[in-house]
């Protein structure tokens, strides 16, 4: 296994403690091994998980942490065993960079459920390397975990698809939401995940209702994102009228919230997919599950094959994220705004053009 080398110096922005404040950080990447692709990073999306991790919200952060797992760049070096990519190719790296490659999940192309999954950042590889993410100038990744970025998909607004996009695409397929046009999908939370879910849902021919705490985003949801309707959870009459009308609900909200009204919105046999990663347990009411054979399921990103399929699908249907492009030096204020959900709908760092001047 290739080891870190002074020859492969790298530079990024890291958090050093749970204040989450990011600052310049010099480190090195491993030398490019036979199966590796070295990627010069062009853009990196800012995922809410990045914020949770740098603040140690989930309790397993190991500092210093360079976050970032929505990476788009150019392959600058490929190892001799690399067949899928060549220098100069536009590539993507998402949430995972390693797995055991021999368990049932890996063999079924669902590396995301491998018990020995290695995340792009805040993780340790089997050779002991501490992995650092995409808020940096380059990354070295095993070819199995590199994606081909399709022509027609812009690097900047396509970057968030590598986490947000696959996080909604995978459960939509697995839980049967894409099998029949005309089914009714509720998208709870209109943020990074939610807004892409609306676009992908419409591309699959679903009727889409956005479910939100406030009406602020209503006209955007309908006029720009193409949602069919908008439901404010505090409008009890409208909620009641919508009870039993949805085949599926994708819940992207990570803040504490009640699942009871979401179950109410589902038809009999309806499915609620929980994607948000809250700090504390949610309350699960049992009666609605039993009386209506309803279900709550989880999902985590997607396998590599599926992620490629999703990128190709989005390229075909012109689905990209709605982004606000920022400089590396703006990252801390962007994180403050993200904490208040003040972004429409994903920050993307223009890494290549701003990392060195930072």
């Amino acid at each position: 296994m290739a080891k870190s080398s002074d020859q492969n110096k790298a530079f990024g922005w890291a958090a050093n403690d749970k204040s989450g404040v990011l600052s310049p950080f010099h480190f090195s990447r491993r030398e490019n091994g036979d199966d590796d692709v070295t990627v010069k990073i062009l853009f990196c999306g800012v995922c809410h998980s990045d914020l949770h991790t740098i603040k140690n919200d989930w309790g397993f952060s190991h500092y210093p942490i360079i976050p970032g797992h929505e990476i788009v760049g150019i392959a600058t070096k490929v190892g001799k065993n690399v067949t899928k990519f060549k220098e100069g190719d536009r590539v993507g790296v998402g949430v995972i960079i390693g797995s055991c490659q021999s368990c049932e999940s890996c063999n079924q192309d669902f590396e995301n459920y491998c018990p020995q999954l290695v995340y792009t950042y805040n993780s340790r590889s089997s050779d002991g390397t501490r992995n650092q993410g995409g808020y940096s100038d380059k990354i070295v990744v095993d070819q199995r975990f590199v994606l081909s970025f399709p022509d027609g998909l812009p690097s900047d607004s396509g970057a968030p698809l590598l986490c947000a996009g696959i996080t909604v695409y995978s459960p939509m397929k697995y839980y049967g939401m894409t099998e029949e046009k005309g089914k009714h999908l509720g998208v709870s939370g209109l943020g990074g995940l939610g807004h892409i879910a609306v676009k992908i849902g419409k591309a699959f021919g679903l009727k889409v209702t956005v479910i939100s705490r406030s009406s602020d985003k209503e006209s955007e949801a309908i006029d720009r994102l193409g949602a069919d309707s908008f439901l404010v959870t505090t409008d009890s009459q409208k909620m009641k009228d919508s009870f039993g009308t949805m085949d599926f609900v994708l819940d992207t909200v990570s803040a504490e919230h009640s699942l009871l009204p979401l179950f109410g919105l589902l038809k009999v046999n309806g499915k609620l997919v929980a994607l948000g990663l809250p700090e504390k347990p949610l309350e699960l009411p049992i009666f609605p599950l039993v009386l209506g054979r309803k279900m709550v399921g989880g999902s985590q990103i997607g396998g590599m094959k599926e992620t490629q399929e999703m990128l190709d699908f989005c390229a075909k249907h012109n689905i990209v994220a709605d982004i606000e492009l920022i400089k590396m030096s703006d990252i801390n204020s962007a994180m403050d705004r993200l904490a208040k959900s003040d972004v429409r709908y994903r920050f993307v760092i223009d890494v290549a053009n701003s990392i060195n001047s930072a």
């Binding site: 049932e104 499915k271 948000g276 949610l282 699960l284 009666f287 309803k294 709550v296």
Partner: protein, 362 residues
């Protein structure tokens, strides 16, 4: 106060009812309606004692209407049929389970899932469309629309078939719907009581591998020797539970009291499903991570539709599946309820109505 429809209740009936939330049952004379065109009058032969009967007698769900005649695991013989009845004849042995009517028009009803119709009518303590309250199977006869009855094949012994009408279908339905029935599948069954023990028998008949998960180590012998489960886990034994993590395709949880589900989610393989049958008022704690990290899910299930109940009965007849029962007299029922409350039954009480009810009428 006479409810609308009561003036049409002209046929005398006799059963045992509770008058209040003490749940104490005693003889009760009442009346049933005349047999409608699409209905049958059924002499009750046996009635299973379901834990729901006990919950309802004690008004634990705060919706009990007294006097309350429970019983929704009814096996009987048809004694009279309305002129439009086509599926049954006089003398047929039939079963009636937990519902005796539904709206017949909604999507659930049209898809043979009357059990999920929001207007389904319960066999007892339910309000019939004519406004009268339904009295259940702890009685000498019932009147039921043919659509909500199933035929009992002659190869199934009647007394041990009774629990299939609620416990049986409650286990059969989710095993089929959630894809857990069949060779290569490993099912966990939590709780070895009325539902659990029948579930083990169905699962084995499907060819699935079955592990019983129980808080009572003493049930291990029965689980393995009588019901032929492949394994037994004591849920409070951390080492056993840890060793079994990530091994099950699905778990059917029959426990009705509030209990931690995180250890059960841990037993599931990736994409595994935990199906809850016991509806508790108090919400459970849901650790979203536990579902997200393995694409696992938690669902509920409630009995099954009538068509599926018939399919289940036929399957049971074909595979010789019956409940493990303790047959009791009508008089014994209060003692049986006390024992049921303590889990002291192996594994379902069934009341021999035909032979022991009439004699209690003084």
């Amino acid at each position: 106060m006479q409810r609308l429809g009561e003036k049409y209740q002209s046929v005398e009936a006799f059963g045992w009812a509770a008058r209040d939330s003490s749940g104490h049952l005693s003889p009760f004379v009442f009346s049933r309606r005349e047999t409608g065109e699409e209905e049958m009058r059924v002499k009750v032969l046996y009635c299973g004692v379901c834990h729901s009967d006990l919950h309802c007698l004690k008004n634990e769900w705060h919706s009990s209407i007294y006097p309350l005649v429970p019983g929704h695991e009814i096996v009987g013989e048809v004694t009279e049929i309305g002129r439009k009845v086509s599926k049954f004849s006089i003398g047929d042995k039939i079963g009636v389970g937990c519902i005796v009517d539904s709206c017949r028009a909604c999507e659930s009803c049209r898809e043979d899932q009357e059990n999920y119709c929001t207007k389904s009518v319960a066999t007892y303590n339910g309000v019939h469309y004519d406004g009268t309250v339904n009295y259940g199977g702890y009685s000498d006869h019932i009147v039921v629309d043919e659509r909500y009855a199933v035929k009992i094949p002659h190869t199934l012994p009647l007394a041990s078939a009774a629990p299939l009408l609620c416990a049986g279908i409650s286990m059969y339905s989710p095993m089929k719907y959630f894809g857990l029935a069949g060779p290569g599948k490993h099912i966990g069954i939590v709780g070895l009581g009325g539902l659990g023990h029948i579930g083990v028998r169905f699962a084995k008949a499907f060819g699935s591998k079955v592990t019983v998960v129980s808080s009572t180590a003493g049930k291990s012998k029965d689980a393995l020797e009588i019901f032929e489960a492949d394994g037994f886990l004591v849920s409070t034994d951390e080492d056993q539970m840890q060793a079994a993590m990530g091994t099950m395709d699905g778990i059917i949880d029959t426990v009705s009291a509030s209990h931690p589900i995180l250890p059960l989610i841990g037993l599931l393989k990736p994409s595994g499903k935990l199906v809850l049958l016991g509806a508790t008022e108090k919400p459970f704690d849901l650790h979203a991570f536990s579902l997200i990290l393995g694409r696992k899910s938690i669902a509920g299930s409630a009995i099954g539709g009538i068509k599926e109940t018939q399919e289940m009965i036929n399957f049971a007849a074909e595979h010789g599946i019956k409940a493990e029962i303790e047959t009791i007299s009508m008089e014994y029922v209060n003692t049986a309820m006390d024992r049921l409350a303590k889990g002291d039954v192996r594994y379902r009480f069934v009341i021999d109505i035909a032979n022991t009810l009439a004699v209690t009428r003084s």
